[in-house]
Symmetry: C2
Subunit: 355 residues, 2 copies
């Protein structure tokens, strides 16, 4: 399809073409660079006619504005940073989308990073992000290293922590209590008559939301006088569907009379349900299983999965909106907490009547 003998030349030529500067566009049009600069901004005062001539020249020459240079002199990077634990198979990809959508047409560019549920990696990413001088930053959770906190403090930019309610918030918070959400689910199921509760979650403390859900579970089971909850920790967060399946097997081996199993996420719940079915058990007749997060899969699968619906997209969107307010308000930000909703969604997987 292409001549193989001079791709390099072609490339070099193209590279030269790019070296267009605003001043050159200005000369071409017969105005000053400043006027070209103004033509690119909405509010600036440039006559419609010159702007039109400039934009035609920009088009003809193929000039592309250089924001790095601009941000250096305007002292506004135009970046917003956001760190999420993971962007795969998780609720956080919806949050990332909420952020991206809220940033659309604001002229702000998102710098997205994923921490892999590690506070150390978060610290490294925060530093990398701060080197780009973001105007604000969105974090997941409230667990940060001391150095990370210090860097954020020094940076003097608005910070939004999401997805949980930290004990010591940095600035603004957009999230909900994972513990209370799980508690609500336990109570809903206890109301349905379930008594012997099991729980499946990941092993380490890296996933603070997971830990909070577990402690909400344990606390509530205790409060309801339903004896100690039966907890199986299996796999490094985020635990997979497959690990959910393995965990439910362990759980049932250890406590065969468990009536209902709550899982740290819908994915592990799905894995657990499928594993039970493979083993010839009927969910929910023989065993009831519930998840957390209301992933798409939970309403579709058979049996459909009881879960907690969480406003993943809204968390991202609202976090971005709060951040935008602060950024446009001069970088200051009230240290408020925006609570996002959640609700129990009862479905077939915990409906004793059968599927």
């Amino acid at each position: 399809m292409k001549n193989e003998d001079e791709p390099k030349d072609k490339r070099v030529k193209a590279a030269d073409a790019q070296k267009l500067t605003m001043a050159e566009v200005a000369k071409y049009v017969g105005v000053s660079a400043m006027t070209v600069s103004r033509a690119f901004r909405q509010d600036a005062s440039v006559s419609e006619e010159t702007r039109k001539r400039i934009m035609e020249a920009v088009d003809a020459l193929g000039y592309v504005l250089d924001l790095s240079a601009g941000s250096l002199s305007s002292r506004r990077s135009g970046f917003i940073a956001a760190l999420v634990p993971s962007i795969n198979n998780s609720n956080f990809s919806d949050t990332a989308r909420g952020i991206t959508d809220a940033l659309e047409n604001t002229g702000l560019q998102l710098l997205l990073g994923y921490t892999d549920y590690s506070a150390e990696k978060e610290e490294r990413l925060i530093e990398a992000m701060l080197r780009r001088r973001p105007e604000g930053i969105i974090l997941t959770g409230g667990s940060h290293t001391d150095r990370a906190r210090r860097m954020l403090d020094k940076a003097g930019i608005p910070v939004v922590e999401t997805w949980e309610i930290p004990e010591e918030p940095i600035n603004h918070v957009v999230g909900f209590s994972n513990s209370e959400a799980m508690s609500l689910l336990v109570r809903a199921l206890a109301n349905q008559g379930y008594r012997r509760f099991g729980y499946i979650g990941g092993t380490t403390a890296r996933d603070t939301r997971g830990s909070q859900r577990r402690s909400g579970f344990l606390k509530t089971v205790e409060e309801l006088g339903l004896g100690p909850g039966r907890v199986i920790s299996f796999g490094v967060p985020p635990i997979t569907m497959e690990q959910g399946g393995q965990a439910v097997v362990s759980l049932l081996e250890r406590w065969p009379d468990t009536e209902v199993v709550l899982c740290v996420s819908d994915l592990s719940a799905f894995g657990a349900i499928m594993e039970c079915k493979r083993r010839g058990m009927n969910v929910p007749v023989d065993i009831a299983i519930a998840g957390f997060g209301d992933y798409e899969i939970s309403s579709i699968c058979h049996p459909s999965i009881t879960t907690i619906n969480v406003d993943c997209y809204g968390i991202g969107q609202q976090a971005a909106v709060r951040l935008l307010d602060a950024v446009h308000g001069g970088g200051s930000m009230g240290d408020e907490i925006t609570l996002t909703g959640y609700k129990v969604v009862l479905r077939e997987s915990t409906n004793r009547g059968g599927t």
Copy 2:
């Protein structure tokens, strides 16, 4: 937890703290700014002792390097741009992770954007990205607007197109033929004795990979003499689990004797299978269903789903590696094609013997 009466003052103070410049660090240590600059780079020649003193000062003062300023003078932005159709519930999030991982410790920062399967949005994003002067760019697919092509050409940076084999590649390609992959699946199922083939995909031509899969399906069914394929187009790509369920209903209403249904992705296949089960049909005994992409769900669900395994993560990783080669090789790039593997994974959902 905090004093509510002077958060603003606190913020302003913090903001001031950030205004640290390299020169100030230099003064503090008693060296020149240039020496501080060198201390931050690996290769630079600074005595170990001064570097140590500088780094201690950096730590003590909380100085954070400003890369935007640096990139302006070094004429290297340190950015790589990547555009994917979606980051939710899709194979592309794995690709994004592959890119991110490959970029780790290279000092390059990823600018990620999602096009929502729209060439127009892609064009806008390409322009937005180019304003940050990325050193290379990774795109999904080979379908771009003319203006997008022109901008990329002018930019003179290496481009990697992924996930398919464009008819007219820009530079490098990392992907596979979606048409041939689907063809392989058709043949594998025909080998198993299936004859009456149906297909479920999205409606518009926006999703070029989807279109290629469909044409691969149609072509192969034809070649095998298995009459015209029965195609249902339903929903705007990416089609959801629920839409997969609705589509299979339409398909079976129209062609009740269909033996096997191929879906554009595992997600729609999963939705189709669940819908069939809800309607009391036995998959695969009454109807066989296959997907594309080998999502986690396909190996876990019951019945497990026959599909095409694609190296999503590897596509991203290899694309990034190719780009890094080009970037370090001075911005030029051979216009080669890196084929990534795929394979048919036969599972329960097309196993006539029963589940």
